[in-house]
Symmetry: C2
Subunit: 284 residues, 2 copies
Amino acid sequence: MQWISKGNILIIGLGLMGGSYARALSRLGYHVTAIDTRRESIDYALANGLIREGSDTVSPELAEKADAVIFGLYPKRLVEWLRENQRLFRPGTRLTDVTGVKTAVVHEIQKLLREDLEFIAAHPMAGREVYGVENSDDGIFHGANYIVTPTEKNTPEAVEWCADLGRILGFRKVSVLSPEEHDRMIAFVSQLTHCIAVSLMTSSDDRHLVDYTGDSFRDLTRIARINDGMWSELFLMNRGPLLEQMDLFLKEFTELREMIAAEDAEGLRAKMRLSTERRAWFDV
Amino acid sequence: MQWISKGNILIIGLGLMGGSYARALSRLGYHVTAIDTRRESIDYALANGLIREGSDTVSPELAEKADAVIFGLYPKRLVEWLRENQRLFRPGTRLTDVTGVKTAVVHEIQKLLREDLEFIAAHPMAGREVYGVENSDDGIFHGANYIVTPTEKNTPEAVEWCADLGRILGFRKVSVLSPEEHDRMIAFVSQLTHCIAVSLMTSSDDRHLVDYTGDSFRDLTRIARINDGMWSELFLMNRGPLLEQMDLFLKEFTELREMIAAEDAEGLRAKMRLSTERRAWFDV
């Protein structure tokens, strides 16, 4: 199947992300179907034209019809689902996902998968602080990054196919990284920042502070409203790279603390100049 | 002088903040004058109608004419300036400032000040990541907080006068705190967040990461572009409360790190739920 042609796409797990994929792909003219255990999600998606068919049980019929399958499940559930149900897919069906950690997921799936199926992993780096298909919005893809994370088991055709999916969904930038490179990167730019925001919120219980917070504090803690089920799973599944980044941050933060304690104005200014210089890279 | 009447206001230190005060007060009809050692700042402000008169030296004439004086200087320079030049003001002149730390400044000034002058401190919690009168903009006051920080040496009239200044400048919320309460608050909501942003930027030199950063990372590090001269002075002058807040944050962050290392999913989820609940206070 080429994305340029009109195929039959099954989305398994119709939450915020699966729903946003469904919305975009239906508008592009694909025949989109979905499986989700939550009946309300299927009903909402049918009523709002996000999908043409749906089921709240694992429907052999929908699985059999699919040319491509997109998994919108949390990582552990994704692995379980495939173990239990992969027999339902036609030979040659292409599978991809949306999970935010890769090393712990990709190799396990590729090991358990039938020889005549191909799983090509991807991470759409988009999201909102709300959940569920009812809040889905493919506008979140515009301006965001999409990373394909192939292994040596993937074919060049599947990598290109998966990258094209990111392109037609409207992502600003589509990249290819190994699962390990991806996990190191995501530990720094996403997981570490969430750890910081959470720690900041839990380190003060002074409700009064709301009166005095400026934009910088609100910006820093916006992501402290966090889906605890999903993020605890992501943190633990990427624990090696995340601990490494947390330790690098702790080292820098502790150095800054020591400079303040020692009244080392020159050291502080050097850190701030370095920080200012590096941050400027991000504003180009 | 009442703010409702039209008085003569002298601004000493015409940078981003002093310039923004000048812009707002001139538009409101006050006779605004300024002293700044940088000739270009005075010329710019005169040419653009921010002030009616200005001088790049300490002008006894401008000081003598002022009904009220607003200091837009960094904290250390502010104390020095008053020590050297307070003799120039008329008895009864009211003085206020814009500095971001209070305990280390207010008591020292009130101790050295002539008996017939009154210094009432204030902190306009607004700013931009750019500097100088050329970037001044009183739009930054809208939506921002303004804190008056009186001591037992201040008169109720001066406190009210200073609060009214915040109101006519267009601040969203005007509050009164002791210098010590202010410094504890500012250590948490502003200085700690700047320390975090700086540490995050200095903890990785991978320029490549720019390609993958999402909004959360950009939000978190926007304030990592920092005026090293001003902020190192602010950090060191507020070092007691800042170190206390840094240690509370370090404790929380280290606890989170230990939970990840120990694969304590339940502990992580509890932290995240607490964080989510507290962050919701800020969205009301």
